[in-house]
Structure formats: C-alpha cells, structure tokens
C-alpha cells in the first residue's frame, strides 16, 4: 500500500529523541529563568529576545518530535494500520475539541488554550495509535 505524507520508519526514533531532548533543555532554561511551553507565561523581553528564542526552540523541538513520532511509518504499513491511524486521528480531534470547548467555557486564561491545542491532539493521537497497535500485536501472540 502506498503511504503518502508519512515520514520514514526511523523518524519515530528521531522524534522520541527530540521529545526527550526537550526535557533537559527546558529544565536547564528554567534554572536560568527562561520559560517554556509548559509554563504558559508570556516571555519577558519582547519578540526575538533571548528568552523568546529559547521559548521558540524548546517548543519547536517538542512539537516537531511529537509530529515525527505521530506520522512516521510503521514497519509494515498496510490498510489496517491506515484504518487505525485515521480512527486515532478522529478521536484525537474529538478529544481536542472537547477540551478546547471546556477550556473556553471554564478557563479564563487564553494562553493555556493555545498551549493545549499545541500538543493535546498529537499526544492523544500517539497514545491511542500505539495502544491499538499494542492490542493488535497482543491478539496475535495470544492466538499463536
């Protein structure tokens, strides 16, 4: 099956590497008084200041890492994987909009809403997709 718009299989590991790399970088920045996406605070010093650039870097590293993990090919990319991928994407959009609408109604802080929109769909998609693949593999091993 031809799979368009997907990264090669090895990109998944690169993606996880970037996600992991984001953690010590953010912690290091935090010790130097920088903010990251988890803080949801406006950066001090205006656009393209050192702090703002650090914010952009850490956010890009995390989000591009999640993006690569989410949209890297499986070892065997067949139609059932496509089906699971689309179904997980649908669920991710559902959950994202439920959270967005709930946040819009119950939370006054608009910064948090943008921040949620940045990583919730990708993260939920990855969790749901991997969980379905794990269930598929488990059913295979239980039947021998």
């Amino acid at each position: 099956m031809k799979s368009k718009f997907l990264f090669p299989y090895w990109c998944r590991y690169l993606g996880w590497g970037l996600v992991v790399l984001h953690v010590p970088l953010s912690m290091l920045g935090k010790t130097h008084g920088m903010v990251n996406i988890m803080d949801a605070q406006p950066t001090n010093g205006g656009p393209f200041s050192g702090e703002h650039l650090f914010f952009i870097c850490t956010t890009l590293i995390m989000s591009s890492g999640l993006f690569l993990v989410a949209f890297a090919k499986e070892k065997i990319e067949d139609e059932q994987i496509w089906h699971i991928r689309l179904d997980s994407l649908r669920w991710a959009i559902f959950i994202n909009y439920i959270i967005l609408i709930a946040s819009l109604v119950f939370i006054e802080d608009i910064g948090h809403i943008l921040e949620l929109d940045f990583w919730v769909p990708l993260l939920f998609f990855i969790i749901r997709f991997r969980w379905m693949i794990w269930r598929l593999n488990r059913s295979l091993s239980s039947e021998g």
Binding site: I76, D78, Q80, L136, S139, L140
Partner: protein, 66 residues
C-alpha cells in the same frame, strides 16, 4: 461478513505469514481478517481470493446481519 481463509490456508498448507507476504500486508492483518475483527478492502479481498484461485464469493460470505 465471515470468511473461509483459515480453511483455504489449511488446504494450501499456508501459514498466516505466507499469506501475509503474498498479499503484502502484516500477519496481524491476516489474523484479524480470519477472526472477523477486520473487514478488508475490496482490493485486499480480491488479492486474497487470487492467491487461493477462487472467486471472491467463495472466500468472503455475507451474513444476515450485514
């Protein structure tokens, strides 16, 4: 929709892995089709029927609930 893939495989002495390789899908996909958990696309169903040299209707059978 039920299917006779398991029986046809036994007749041809094929494993799930052999059939998966013949139709370019994973073994997991063949397993879920056999256990009626996944309904294949028309293209995949035709490919499977071709491997067994049988018409599609002999491999995949519609049920009353379909």
């Amino acid at each position: 929709m039920k299917n006779t893939i398991r029986i046809e495989r036994a007749i041809k002495d094929m494993t799930q892995a052999d059939l998966a390789e013949a139709v370019s899908v994973s073994r997991q996909t063949i397993n879920t089709i056999e256990s009626n958990k996944y309904v294949p696309s028309t293209v995949l169903a035709l490919k499977i029927a071709k491997v067994f040299n049988k018409p599609l209707e002999e491999i995949f059978i519609l049920e009353d609930t379909d």
